[in-house]
Amino acid sequence: MIVFPTTLEAAVAALKVDGAVPRAGGTDLLARRGLPNAPRDAVDLRDVPGLDTIAPAADGWRIGARVRIATLAAHPELRGATPGLAQAAGDLATPQIRAVATVGGNLMQHVRCAWYRHPDVRCWLRGGQTCPARAAGDREGSCFDLGPCLAPAPSTLALAFLAWDAAVEIKGERAVRVEDLEVLYGDGKAGPHPTLPPGELVTAVRIARPTSLEGSAYVRTSARAHAEWPIIDVVVRLAVLDGKITLARVVLGGVAPIPWRSRVAEDALVGQTPADAVFAKAAARAAGDANPTAATAWKVAMIAPTIEDALARAREQA
């Protein structure tokens, strides 16, 4: 059953139905429609007002959950102030998907694991006992192996949002709560999908206003030129004052069941000069943290060059 509430309150009330999910762009829900655990009930947000704007706030921006990814990628102010975010939005998926898919949907989408998406396979994430991807030696799995599920978190935007210390506004029946995006994703042990209790809806993402001294970049490593789920992707953010790095964010995708913020890499950058050797050392520390499976060990070698490329690009603006 799909309902079309016209107010946010009605939407949240409709989401109290067990198993009901919100539908915004609908791209991932429709792609998963044939799967055995596809949700039967959805709350379509088409007629709910107020979710699709990007608004400046005192401490940054508030990005509505139903803002389309293409809108985010093209936003003039964000392109100037947070290029890493705009690039991440502009590089993910394909132009047609970006024109429809939304910020909230990107954060809450399900993993792309070949087993999870297979109509005839039952995996751990679908209520099975074991992870068949792990048993089969999935090369595309996580190399920061955090939990029973091996699938990397799929959200590209989450990397960028984490780099700008994002908080998520969640509307419940009675109030709006604000949660750190990092907390929403958890530690990866409970699986790669952020889940909300019934009756709650992500309504917006708040990101911090960047300092005037910073640069940022998004780099996506894949075999093909376009339209491929990345082997590794990364958003980095660097602020430089008097030749020293004063702020660093390094958030990796494709490597873990959650967007992976590499604090060891960030620590290795702060206080240092933005030099290639410093970047290489920090990137190597990010990679050194990995605990891959035998089948995903190859990904570890891709981490450092991806981060180094991104840092070099961020440095150009900082």
């Binding site: 792609a31 024109a99 070949a114 396979v121 894949s222």
Partner: protein, 928 residues
């Protein structure tokens, strides 16, 4: 035990299907099962469709694509993947291109929908449509409406913002959400750039091929678009496990499901299950949802076996046989090659060897030993190449309409003619009572060559339901059972002796699942005649859906191994790879191509490329060879009417190669008239026998037959000229010249009673290679020749390989249709790159489930991966071939993987032995 959405009884070791508990094998059919609730209520929406406001009622869970195609009847947008990866369904919503397959229909409410049908009309096509039509930016055409809609949006946007033409990179990025499996990107990019530059703003151009306007406007009708009155939708029930025995099956409960009109078993109790996806039964219903529910309601029980999955398991002699010794199926397994299956002994699941070099060659062994012992001039390696799925953009499908014992079948096929014959035989009806129609075919590549199960199922269901039935595969089914080029392991060795290529040996294992026919050692037989050879092929049979012939079966893996061996041997002796080939290669056509390659700038500049540091560049080349096949039974009819219309027809089909245009040009050439004046009808089994689109036989078969027909028409009209008293008439351009001037054919036709003639494919001078015929297939007395050079750029840290430029030269005689031939090369190059760098059919090693079940996981090259390609044709030779033209499609893709392998070695000093050359392999390989 394995997983199944149908649940299973673990204690008994039996898998069971259906919604209710199942009885023992001997039990009576179980009671009808509970039925899922009907779909919930519909929702009203209003939407502006191509400028006109329309009110609709839609199911809230429906995709926009199903509403656009089924409710609005606009069938230009195609179903390609169903998950937003291929872009075949692209439409515009408030100007932005979107994938209609993953767009909720309800989100169209209050929006402006633009489809390809709204873009332009005859005489007033959109500039993008004009550019696509003029520049041959299409092949099979199934993806074309999606590309055109996307490109039109780009055109409009760049025009509105004054940005003008995009760069190649910008155009490729804009098209990143579209897959053209034929690989027409080179011309697509050119068309998009040219249109945005304004080149097609003013006037309608001449189209590059006969059906170009139909394809760029979405009017071209594919099997998937056929909608007959009362038509039902079919769906298969497929085996959920790779191995076992079907204990019993009862389709009865499906009939109790509302909306289901027919259910037919395709396998009975006792049938062996040999692969996941093996069809067990089929159901026809009012809509797809009901058909799915019906298939799920079928009751069955399977005693599962232990599947043999992968080359290693297949070669393990201790594993149970896929075909038991006493199993009659063992005598005639499916064939993954395009030639006949040569006999071979079985050893467990390994069958062979078949020796494609018929003369057992002790010399090869002696020379190999000498080379190793005396000079160390020996190269030895085991190459391993992944299986490659065909996955044409139009999935397999058929629409059957059985009435009064007569069968009409619309089908996505490579062989309307043979299929009609096979259908008549299968259903024991007269050939005259079978009508097969394939107006447009959305790609095939070898996987749609015969009587496929969906044709059989559609006929069975239509006969049962007494209504037309369409059954088309979805993308997951296509990637599960739709065919693939087998994976191979090739253990090869090459030896040089002084400046000579002394010996080449190859032991090749091919894993085509339940299919046999591996012949990937064979192409080496036709190359480097001075090298002593021993070439052996084995089939490894596993519990996987059958591999099928794929564009040059055996050729790309064969050349990946052979041409890298030649490259290594050349370098061992300090030779330039091109010089060594010149010495070792006796083919005169390739000798000319070697000369022409030297003029290619990247070849001349290759020594200056960077070969140290992170980004390294190199150039590699590889030779290629393929057979010249033809169908000796080909006939082409020509009907000329008194109003001057001339129509050429034959029962062949166009899978994207431009066959209509080849026919029109062949007739036009004889008559000396513009090709656009010739009407063409193909894709209809009622026309005279035409060739199967496989084995690159079409051009060599239809050109001579069309010319023969045109000559007869010409002669008949010359007689008319005499009869009406023209003095000294003689054949001239476009008509006859006579004492009083020139009279065109049209005028003579007006004075005639009309002319009907049939042309035959007359024999080549000197006959054919063997007296053998397989069907009408003959092997011509000539070999085609190819030479490809690739420039690569290797990022040694991230393992990414780019192929910026390709030089592709071929000798296939006279080029019958230059634009179409260049397009064939573009596609072959692109598919070769895709095969070399990205494509890999992956299976779960335990269950045999296909993991590359969608177009996100099964990765093919996209616009951004397409190289700038220089196409060269050497038209000399082939003088004994009737018509002078032979086929190109297979040859053109054969050398690519070898050329890329050699280029990667040239750039990095690391020789790739495995396909695809994935980033992880590059990083590990270069590091070693």
């Amino acid at each position: 035990m394995a997983v199944s959405r149908r649940g299973f009884l673990e204690g008994l070791g039996l898998l069971a299907g259906g919604l209710a508990a199942t009885g023992p094998a001997t039990a009576a059919p179980p009671a009808p099962t509970t039925v899922p609730p009907p779909p919930p209520g519909e929702l009203p929406i209003t939407v502006t469709v191509n400028g006109a406001p329309i009110a609709l009622s839609v199911r809230p869970e429906a995709s926009a694509l199903s509403v656009i195609r089924e409710q609005l009847g606009l069938r230009g947008a195609k179903f390609g993947c169903g998950h937003g990866a291929c872009g075949a369904c692209t439409v515009r919503v408030d100007d932005a291109p979107v994938c209609a397959c993953v767009l909720p229909a309800t989100s169209l409410h209050g929006r402006a929908l633009g489809t390809v049908e709204g873009l332009g009309a005859p005489g007033a096509h959109h500039p993008v449509q004009r550019a696509f039509a003029a520049l041959d930016a299409l092949q099979c055409g199934y993806c074309t409406p999606g590309f055109v809609v996307e490109a039109a949006a780009l055109y409009d946007q760049r025009k509105a913002t004054g940005l003008g033409a995009p760069t190649r990179e910008e155009a490729a990025a804009a098209l990143a959400g579209h897959i053209c499996r034929c690989g027409a990107y080179e011309n697509i990019l050119a068309a998009v750039i040219s249109a945005c530059r304004g080149d097609y703003d003013a006037a309608e151009p001449e189209p590059s091929r006969v059906e170009a306007w139909e394809k760029v406007t979405g009017r071209a009708r594919y099997t998937a678009d056929v909608a007959l009155p009362g038509q039902l939708v079919g769906r298969f029930l497929r085996a959920p496990v790779a191995a076992g025995t079907l204990v019993w099956i009862d389709v009865g409960p499906a009939l109790a499901v509302p909306g289901v009109r027919a259910a037919v078993g395709l396998a009975g109790g006792g049938a062996m299950i040999r692969y996941v996806g093996q069809p067990l039964a089929c159901v026809a219903a009012d809509d797809l949802a009901a058909a799915r529910r019906g298939a799920a309601a079928i009751q069955w029980q399977i005693a599962p076996g232990v599947p043999v999955i992968g080359m290693e398991a297949g070669r393990d002699a201790s594993r149970a046989p896929v075909y038991a010794e006493d199993d009659p199926a063992r005598a005639k397994p499916p064939n993954a090659s395009e030639g006949p299956v040569i006999g071979g002994a079985w050893n467990g699941n390994v069958r062979g060897p078949s020796k494609s070099h018929y003369f057992a060659n002790p010399i090869a062994a002696v020379r190999m030993t000498d080379a190793a012992a005396e000079r160390g001039e020996r190269f030895q390696a085991t190459f391993q190449v992944a299986a490659q799925s065909h996955t044409a953009m139009e999935p397999h499908g058929a629409v059957a309409d059985v009435k009064d014992g007569k069968i009409t079948l619309y089908v996505s096929t490579q062989s309307v003619d043979w299929l009609a014959h096979d259908l008549a035989e299968r259903f024991e009806v007269d050939r005259a009572d079978v009508h097969v129609i394939a107006e447009h075919v959305g790609g095939a590549f070898g996987a749609k060559a015969g009587l496929e199960i969906e044709s059989v199922a559609a006929v069975l269901l239509s006969r049962e339901a007494k209504r037309p039935v369409r059954i088309t595969l979805d993308r997951a089914e296509e990637l599960l059972v739709g065919g693939y080029r087998p994976g191979h392991a090739l253990s090869v060795a090459g030896a040089r002796s002084g400046s000579a290529f002394a010996a080449y040996t190859a032991e090749v294992y091919g894993d085509g699942g339940v299919a046999v026919g591996n012949n990937a050692s064979l192409p080496a037989r036709m190359m480097y005649p001075d090298a002593a050879k021993e070439l052996l092929d084995w089939d490894v049979v596993t519990h996987v859906a059958p591999g099928r012939p794929f564009r040059g079966p055996g050729g790309p893996p064969a050349m990946f191994a052979l041409e890298q061996t030649v490259d290594a041997l050349a370098r061992m002796g300090g030779d330039d790879p091109l010089d060594a080939r010149r010495r070792w290669d006796a083919n005169p056509a390739r000798a000319r191509l070697y000369d022409r390659l030297e003029a290619w700038a990247p070849w001349g500049g290759r020594l200056a490329l960077p070969r140290t540091g992170r980004i390294r560049r190199g150039v590699g080349l590889a030779a290629g060879v393929w057979y010249y096949f033809l169908d000796v039974n080909t006939q082409v009819s020509l009907k000329a009417t008194t109003d001057g219309a001339i129509t050429v027809a034959t029962a062949t089909q166009d899978v994207g190669t431009g066959v209509r245009t080849v026919l029109a040009r062949a007739v036009a050439r004889v008559l000396g008239v513009p090709p656009a004046t010739i009407g063409v009808r193909i894709g209809d089994s009622r026309d005279p026998s035409g060739p199967l689109a496989g084995g690159s036989r079409s051009t060599a078969s239809i050109v001579p037959a069309a010319e023969h027909a045109a000559e007869q028409l010409r002669d008949a009209l010359l007689e008319v000229a005499e009869e009406i008293g023209l003095v000294d008439p003689a054949i001239a351009e476009g008509g006859v010249r006579h004492a009083a001037g020139h009279t065109p054919w049209t005028e003579l036709l007006a004075r005639s009673a009309g002319v009907d003639v049939v042309g035959r494919r007359r024999r080549d001078k000197g006959g054919y290679f063997l007296p053998l015929r397989f069907g009408g297939l003959a092997i011509g007395r000539a070999l085609t020749a190819g030479l490809v050079a690739c420039e690569v750029e290797v990022d040694t840290r991230l393992g990414r390989i780019r192929v910026p430029r390709v030089w592709a030269g071929y000798a296939v005689g006279r080029i019958a249709n230059p634009a179409g031939a260049r397009s064939q090369v573009h596609g072959a190059v692109l598919q070769g790159i895709s095969y070399a760098l990205y494509e890999e059919k992956r299976l779960d090693p335990t269950t045999g489930q296909v993991l590359t079940h969608d177009l996100e996981h099964y990765r093919v090259a996209l616009a951004g991966d397409a190289p700038e390609t220089e196409v060269v044709f050497d038209e000399a030779g082939f003088d004994d071939v009737r018509g002078g033209s032979v086929g190109l499609a297979e040859l053109a893709t054969v050398p690519l993987a070898g050329a890329i392998g050699n280029a990667v070695f040239d750039a990095t000093g690391w020789r790739p032995l495995e396909l695809p050359i994935r980033p992880d392999r590059v990083v590990a390989g270069v590091a070693s």
